[in-house]
């Protein structure tokens, strides 16, 4: 398909685990330097050209200057994103990242309401998030994403409105708006707070979408909004059957017709183990299915040549899918009920 490959780098360090998060991370940073070395060693196994790099976590910026050193050693790419926690940024680190070739910053803001941030167990305040955004602009980042979380404990239309107003004022190039999902193994799973119900959650989502569209951030995926031309190329690969290599503990890859992961185990990873486990070959049928259940996440949908006629006809009759020319895509209602559609294709 695409000749160029995406590189994902997982940084499993955090200052503190957030109450909702089930991504792999540890709250010690003493081994950042060793980890950097191990990542580069793993990267050396690949000889492909990378046109996008995405450094995610965990909290990449929890590594401090080690992160800048790492980025300097990573391949130069047309799109080079680093995830950042607003509570861990300094002008120096931002400058060094920019100098290392990072050209896109993804700020994990989640909310601009302090009580919501506290409920989520975030380490930063709304004011710190704004400050981090200005620092990033100051350091030369002209492509910034803000992560916003919907349906968080205590969120109302009014409080979301406040977060949206702050986003409008900051005018980022990109927003990812995710819904809080209670995952097993998180503090929220053990001790679930009062959450907006399904109807309220959809109202919040629709409210956010309208606001983003009014700011000129068009929806291009279920949870993603961007100014035209600022869509995240790396993430688009996940939904478009593109190849990507994930390095680091717990990173997932799709490369050479195969999906595989590294074990979520820092010790094992540092010892050179737990690599490329859960290998799964993806055959043509699987690839075709993925084209639909992943590709339809994009609002533009997928090219359609009459595959799965029964499923498509039924879902279209239910008002969840629509065919426009040779494209098949989710309707607005389909975007709310996408799992019903996807489940037909897996």
């Amino acid at each position: 398909m695409m000749s160029s490959v995406g590189l994902y780098v997982h940084i499993p360090f955090c200052l503190r685990k957030c109450s909702y998060c089930d991504f792999y991370s540890v709250t010690e940073r003493g081994r950042a330097s060793k980890y950097r070395a191990a990542l580069l060693e793993e990267l050396a196994e690949y000889s492909c050209r990378f046109d996008t790099v995405f450094v995610g976590g965990g909290t990449p910026t929890a590594m401090g200057e080690e992160l800048a050193l790492l980025c300097r050693s990573l391949p130069k790419a047309e799109e080079f994103t680093v995830e950042a926690n607003p509570g861990t940024l300094t002008p120096e680190l931002l400058r060094d990242l920019r100098a290392a070739g990072v050209n896109r910053l993804s700020l994990g803001v989640q909310s601009f309401v302090d009580s919501e941030l506290a409920a989520l167990g975030r380490i930063h305040s709304a004011a710190q998030a704004e400050e981090a955004f200005f620092m990033a602009r100051e350091a030369g980042f002209d492509n910034i994403n803000i992560d916003l979380m919907l349906a968080v404990p205590g969120q109302t239309a009014e409080s979301l409105g406040r977060s949206l107003a702050r986003i409008r004022a900051l005018s980022p190039e990109h927003v990812s708006a995710y819904s809080l999902i209670i995952e097993e193994g998180t503090p929220f799973y053990e001790n679930t707070p009062d959450l907006p119900d399904e109807d309220e959650e959809r109202d919040l989502y629709h409210q956010a979408r309208e606001a983003f569209e009014a700011m000129g951030l068009g929806q291009y995926e279920i949870s993603n909004f961007a100014r035209s031309g600022c869509e995240c190329r790396h993430n688009l690969k996940y939904w478009s059957g593109g190849e990507y290599v994930g390095i680091g503990a717990a990173a997932a890859s799709f490369c050479g017709g195969e999906r595989y992961k590294n074990a979520p185990d820092l010790d094992l990873y540092l010892a050179g183990g737990g690599r490329k486990i859960e290998r799964e070959a993806v055959d043509e049928d699987e690839l075709l299915r993925e084209k639909f259940w992943l590709g339809l996440r994009k609002t533009g949908g997928v090219e359609y040549f009459g595959e799965f006629p029964d499923e498509v006809e039924r879902l279209a009759a239910q008002g969840l899918l629509e065919i426009r020319g040779n494209r098949l895509r989710l309707t607005r209602r389909g975007l709310d009920l996408a799992n019903i559609v996807f489940a037909e294709f897996v």
């Binding site: 399904e198 959650e201 009920l337």
Partner: protein
């Protein structure tokens, strides 16, 4: 020889220690080494052990050297411990001369203690009380002994005081049995009469019939006749039931307990309570007390996956090989497709069969709400019994209806009597009287419609008495009653499998509650689903399941596609477990929603 035989049962209220005592006796008589013993040897069905109850009757022959220097044959005939199986209990008791009555030293006499004692007295058994669990800190053996004397009216001051669990004073029990239970009588040379008290299917030898020979002698080669069913077979083998298996013997004569194998193909030929005789030298009269057991509770059982219909039929047939009281016939439901209407002795029996089908045969089932059998007298004069609410004639065709009623005894500490009477009243019970067993406990006597107690009466009773009340009942007869059929409509379409019959005074409350329960159990779908309850075409309750608004993974899982896929596959699996009923998808639990009204 006869004078060295003792045939006895052990009767007790649930959890008073019947099975543990049986284990200790087996140990004591040396037939089973204690280290080889699995707990509760007689209860060897997995389910029985889990639930701590005995479902099938069983027998075991022990050899005991008494203090008088003589060796005695002790035949223990175990009885099922639940009211569903009362008839089986009565047949097992009829095979004995005596019964050991186990009473918990802490709890004293309970409803089943009394019910079982009365059953035993009906069969003129010698009753030997044994006070168990004397090791408990709350044991009060003197009080309980007096209670047995006062309430039951049998001497109990000399009753062995034991702890079957701790093995205390167990040796007193067999001595007590030998001394006090009469030896069997009966002429070994008379035309044979043997009582069937159980049977089971063995894939090599056919049905193995457990009998107590009352008169005459049975031996291999004899042509036998079952006097009630009329079947005739040639005896291949006779023998004794030892704890570790069967041991063949050249004959079974009057007074003895054992088995017969006669290449019998189905347990239906060997009805419990029937009399075995010599076809060439038949007895003039069968033994008394035989009756055909009729199922009391019916429900529809359907395979969750319609393609498993044949598997379900095979499984039911297999279970029926060993359980003559299970009945089933094919039926179809517009909502559930092809399945079976199954008849059971009671709700416990139903649950056991359902669990065995699921566990032993790995079937996924949809079960409709249990129903009792109603008697409908039509305006045409014709009368019918209906076990499936769907078959109820239209109200215009019905002259009147009758429902089964039981007479029940509830034992309870007096503090809970008020709330139990309230419960019985809610369940349309007719108060018949109350007596005090002792200063603290009462025996409440009620007549209750069976359809009010088959679902959750026992649970309600337990929760209103903090677990202290006990309950026993027997079928009384059919009583005229004002009954209506309650239908459920989903999205405007009637779902036959959800219909049931209810007393008209309760139809509104029931309809409302079921609509609410269904609303909780039906997941939101693409469109709004009205749930309506109707009696005779008139809507009496309505709820709405709102249309689904959200079903999307709006979360970033990075490149971990396999994880996303697993979530979707799980969703797809869940959808497969739903039943498409008209335009609505119903989870299997919805069909049982009518049962869980008190939750």
């Amino acid at each position: 020889m006869q004078d060295k035989i003792r045939n006895f049962s052990i009767i007790a209220h649930i959890d008073h220690g019947k099975s543990t005592l049986a284990d200790r006796l087996l140990e004591l008589t040396g037939v089973v080494e204690s280290r080889d013993m699995e707990e509760q040897l007689l209860d060897n069905m997995e389910l029985e052990r889990e639930r701590g109850i005995t479902i099938k009757a069983r027998a075991v022959r022990m050899s005991y050297k008494a203090k008088d220097g003589e060796t005695y044959i002790l035949n223990l005939i175990d009885t099922p411990g639940h009211v569903d199986f009362n008839y089986e209990v009565s047949r097992s008791l009829a095979a004995c001369e005596g019964a050991v009555l186990v009473v918990d030293a802490a709890q004293g006499v309970e409803a089943q203690t009394l019910a079982n004692t009365y059953l035993a007295l009906d069969h003129n058994l010698e009753i030997l009380p044994v006070i168990n669990k004397i090791d408990l800190p709350s044991a009060r053996p003197d009080v309980v002994a007096r209670e047995i004397e006062d309430v039951i009216g049998i001497p109990a001051m000399d009753a062995p005081r034991i702890s079957a669990k701790q093995g205390i004073n167990i040796e007193e029990v067999p001595e007590y049995i030998v001394k006090n239970i009469p030896a069997p009588t009966g002429d070994p040379s008379a035309p044979p009469r043997a009582l069937i008290f159980d049977s089971y299917y063995d894939s090599y030898r056919g049905v193995i019939v457990y009998v107590r020979v009352m008169e005459g002698t049975l031996r291999p080669g004899m042509r036998i006749r079952f006097m009630a069913t009329g079947g005739e077979f040639d005896v291949v083998e006779t023998g004794y039931l030892l704890p570790n298996g069967m041991q063949s013997a050249k004959e079974l004569s009057a007074g003895e307990v054992g088995y017969i194998a006669a290449s019998i193909k189905t347990v239906r030929d060997t009805q419990v309570g029937d009399t075995v005789t010599d076809a060439n030298n038949p007895a003039a009269e069968p033994l008394e007390g035989y009756r055909k057991v009729n199922p009391m509770v019916f429900c529809g059982i359907y395979p969750a996956d319609g393609a498993k219909y044949n598997d379900l039929r095979d499984a039911l047939e297999k279970l029926q090989l060993n359980d003559a009281s299970l009945s089933f016939e094919a039926e179809t439901s517009a909502a559930l497709g092809f399945g079976f209407r199954c008849g059971f002795l009671g709700l416990l029996h139903l649950e056991i069969i359902q669990e065995r089908l699921e566990r032993e045969f790995n079937l996924d089932l949809v079960t409709t709400a249990p129903s009792v059998v109603y008697h409908v007298i039509k305006t045409s004069g014709e009368d019918v019994f209906i076990s499936n609410p769907t078959n109820m004639p239209s109200p215009a065709e019905v002259n009147y209806m009758e429902e089964p009623v039981v007479t029940a005894h509830i034992f309870s500490p007096k503090d809970y009597v008020g709330s139990i009477m309230e419960l019985c009243q809610e369940r349309r019970g007719v108060y018949k009287g109350m007596t005090y067993i002792d200063a603290d406990r009462a025996d409440l006597h009620y007549e209750l419609p069976l359809n009010e107690i088959i679902y959750d009466f026992f649970d309600a009773l337990k929760s209103r008495s903090r677990g202290y009340a006990s309950f026993d009942y027997e079928f009384m007869g059919y009583v005229k009653s004002d009954l209506v059929k309650l239908d459920i409509l989903l999205n405007g379409e009637m779902v036959d499998a959800l219909s049931f019959i209810v007393h008209s005074s309760k139809s509104y409350a029931r309809g409302r509650r079921i609509a609410e329960k269904l609303k909780e159990s039906i997941p939101r779908q693409l469109f709004e689903i009205p749930i309506q309850a109707a009696v005779g075409g008139k809507i009496i309750a309505r709820e709405t399941v709102k249309a689904l608004r959200k079903d999307v993974l709006a979360k970033c899982y990075g490149g971990d596609i396999t994880r996303k896929k697993k979530l979707l596959e799980k969703q797809k699996e869940g959808k497969k477990r739903m039943r498409q009923v008209g335009s609505v998808e119903l989870p299997q639990e919805a069909f049982m929603a009518v049962l869980k009204l008190d939750e």
